[in-house]
């Protein structure tokens, strides 16, 4: 119990956002044909007006996991003097992105019930 209180005491925004990362990234990839890692971080930062910053340490493992699950596919392209890896949704990924977003909405609604119980 004490540990739990301690955990919530030190929990910051980024910890709160962590679980929402997957639907956010999938939504972005659905809207744009293909994106590279840095572009995703910047796009999220821009859309949330700097409120949400995706760290590289969280983004790449997630993108790699989505790739392993077959939700995302990659293509490599030469950009001047370096190589860039682009991520795009697969057919399954496109279907899954809607499901993930619905799940996130349902979760937000549940949170709303807890925060504002009067609305129930």
């Amino acid at each position: 119990m004490y540990l739990e209180i301690m955990y919530f005491g030190v929990m910051n925004r980024s910890t709160l956002y962590k679980g929402c990362l997957e639907p956010i990234i999938m939504r972005l990839l659905k809207e744009h044909d293909r994106m590279y890692g840095y572009q995703i971080t910047q796009m999220v930062k821009e859309l949330t007006k700097g409120e949400l910053k995706i760290t590289e340490g969280a983004l790449y493992p997630l993108l790699h996991r989505l790739e392993e699950e077959g939700l995302v596919e990659t293509e490599v392209e030469n950009i001047g003097n370096r190589v860039r890896k682009y991520y795009s949704l697969t057919k399954t990924g496109k279907k899954q992105s809607s499901v993930a977003l619905e799940e996130l909405k349902a979760f937000m609604q549940s949170l709303q019930f807890i925060i504002n119980p009067k609305t129930i």
Binding site: Y36, G37, Y38, Q39, T55, E56, G57, Y60, P61, H64, R65, E67, E68, T74, V76, I79, G80, N81, R82, V83, R84, K85
Partner: protein
């Protein structure tokens, strides 16, 4: 846009921070380069080295370690899944017919051989499979060493076999006289025992074949995505 020299220094930076695989380095170098370019554009006085320091700090206290670790786990899982799919394909249409025919050929030898010869054949078959697997592994290691750049995907492809046939066969070393043990089993169980042995051998053969196909598939994907890593070696 960063110069070629600066890009190369980013590769060196990645190596210094324990990112030894070219495929992982590539992604990180592009990310670092983008972030550095943006920082330097926003602040003209900012040097490349200082910008790199700031960008790297953004990766947190773990630096690249977390990304590398997660990547290796994901790739290992991916390769294992690929091999499982190849293995399963031997039991689905149309390959299942070939598998079944091979099984029939194997068990049809029963009536032409006495139990001692059957036991010898089973022993030799086990050894051949183990050697076949080792040869595939050694051959792949040779090709990996010839690569210009080390790739995590080819490294993981080699180590992620779903079953180690050679280690399994090595267990026979603990049997006092494997031929005698097999012969005794064949005498006790007859045709049923022979069928069981042949099923085991067939499954092991398919595991080794799926391992070989996995390695070839991984190599083809790697060559397509990172031709620079193979340029001279190819």
């Amino acid at each position: 846009m960063l110069s070629e020299e600066q890009i190369q220094s980013l590769f060196v930076f990645c190596k210094k921070h324990f990112v030894h695989h070219y495929d992982v380095q590539n992604e990180l170098v592009d990310h670092l380069a983008n972030a550095i370019e943006e920082k330097m554009a926003a602040d003209k006085k900012l040097t490349f080295e200082k910008a790199l320091e700031i960008v790297y700090a953004g990766f947190g206290y773990k630096g690249f370690a977390g990304i590398v670790q997660e990547r290796s786990i994901t790739l290992k899982d991916k390769c294992t899944k690929m091999q499982k799919n190849i293995f399963k394909s031997y039991f689905t249409w149309p390959k299942a017919i070939k598998t079944f025919c091979l099984f029939l050929v194997l068990i049809s030898t029963y009536r032409f051989l006495d139990t001692y010869t059957q036991a010898i054949i089973i022993c030799v078959f086990f050894m051949v499979l183990a050697i076949f697997e080792v040869v595939i592994s050694v051959r792949e290691n040779y090709f990996r060493k010839k690569q210009l750049k080390r790739l995590m995907i080819t490294d993981m492809g080699t180590v992620s076999s779903i079953f180690n046939v050679s280690s399994f066969v090595q267990m026979f070393v603990f049997l006092n006289d494997p031929i005698y043990v097999f012969e005794k089993a064949l005498n006790n169980y007859g045709f049923l025992g022979y069928c069981v042995f042949m099923i085991v051998l067939l499954l092991l053969l398919l595991v080794v074949l799926s391992y070989r196909n996995l390695i070839n598939k991984v190599r083809t994907v790697a060559k397509k995505e990172y031709p620079l890593a193979f340029e001279i070696a190819a």
